[in-house]
Symmetry: none
Subunit: 248 residues, 2 copies
DNA sequence: ACCCGCGCGGTACGCAGTTCCATGATCACG
DNA sequence: CGTGATCATGGAACTGCGTACCGCGCGGGT
């Protein structure tokens, strides 16, 4: 059984290797799927059973990585969300560092083939989506925290890609990249403010404020005016998303 | 001459209309390019002369919009970068609002067709790239400002898309979207800190959430709460600039 | 030895996108 | 007004990706 699995993996690896060889020799667009299958000693049909498309063979570890990220994020407990997020993003970096030369060849390919660039963006977007959902749930899953969750997830992914590209270009070594990435994440952690800033972690005081005006916050009665009481401009801005939601 | 140009545009518009009609009738993947060309009364070859691909016809205004953004950004002078950036991003929003129903149909299409989602991401990435380059140059174009420029550009685009999606879903009207977007940009402006180093140290002290009793108030005396009465969400959005000014 | 399941390869097909060429309209010029 | 050049158009043929279908052979179980 384990032998069978191993053989499947070996076959898969042969296809990937054949593909990267041919891409290096004739370029991506100059290589047909049939040529890859021939060199790997499999049929064209089998290629498409292993990889959804010609592009997919360039990102062979994507699905597995995505699953690993999700697994790491789901182990988070209240209070450990930040470290979970940090480590999950490090998984991506580690994956690339582990792939080594192949990651760099992929970088070369993506730089010159538009279709592969698009495909890579789609991959990145999937990581980002996991992060976004995780952060959003962490912050309560309410509509008013969604934008900030999107911004935060985006910032993490952007920072990651910044460091990753430096390594892919050879500007920094693997260990430097790891350290730099931790620094960057720490910096983001400090500058983003995460929970504190404009958002409704303090839902209770918000409600009591609304109630103190005598207007039930759940009532969306038509034509009924809403009364809002704020202390200053800053509080208004903080409460705006909530106010908008309640008025909707 | 102008007549010839007009005829070309009319022909192009016929093709776009035919495409959207057929996509609505048979779905995107159920529609062949030949069918689009037939309905528009042109040859298949002509279709591919007007649009690089079947996907491109779904985003017919993209190139023009990209050029408009670049044009707006290049008019920036020292000191006017922020407003240039803000207005350039508003160009994108305005483009969608202007397209109206077609933008919403595109939204429906992109939600169900993976290829179109990828394509849209590619479009967004191009806007984001313009913003990134602009911000980076603005901040000196040195390597040490690049990451922050990437983060800033990303934040602008993410915020924009957040508001845009709300309009596309019909959650807010066009005017609300405009106002909301300006608010969001203003908020980003305040929290990102832009040029200064990575910090938001401002850390507004929001302690005394305790008792904000509804005291009617006309003056802007410090510590004194303000009472706002609005009829509905739309009125709130219309009045927001005024409210902000009074609270300042 | 026989049967069953299943992965594999081969074939055929649809369709996107490209290339090449013939045709017809428009325009410049004699 | 006729003639030739230019250029957009449409048609035809081709490549190659991706899918559907089918038959074969290599297991493993009884």
């Amino acid at each position: 059984m384990s032998e069978a699995v191993s053989q499947r993996d070996q076959q898969r690896e042969r296809v990937i290797t054949a593909a990267f060889e041919l891409f290096a020799e004739r370029g991506y667009e100059g290589t047909t799927v049939e040529a890859i299958a021939d060199r790997a000693g499999v049929g064209r049909t089998t290629f498409f059973r292993m990889f959804r498309s010609k592009e997919s063979v360039v990102f062979p570890a994507h699905d597995q990585l995505l699953a690993a990220i999700e697994a790491r994020l789901t182990t988070a407990r209240p209070g450990t969300e930040k470290v979970a997020l940090s480590e999950a993003s490090e998984l991506v970096l580690e994956q690339y560092l582990h792939e080594g030369a192949r990651a760099r060849q992929r970088y070369a390919l993506t730089r010159e083939v538009e279709a592969l660039r698009e495909r890579e963006r789609a991959s990145i977007f999937q990581y980002e989506r996991l992060f976004r959902r995780f952060i959003h749930q962490w912050w309560g899953g309410t509509p008013d925290t969604l934008l900030r969750a999107e911004l935060a997830a985006n910032a993490v992914v952007t920072a990651h890609n910044h460091v990753l590209r430096a390594w892919l270009r050879g500007d920094v070594g693997a260990e430097e990249a790891r350290i730099w990435f931790r620094d960057v994440i720490a910096e983001l952690d400090a500058t983003l403010g995460w929970e504190p800033e404009p958002q409704t972690a303090k839902a209770a005081p918000d409600r009591s404020e609304a109630a103190s005006t005598g207007m039930p916050n759940t009532g969306d009665g038509e034509g009924e005016p809403a009364v809002i009481v704020v202390r200053d401009a800053a509080q208004l801005e903080r409460m705006l998303p909530t106010i908008r939601r309640m008025l909707r």
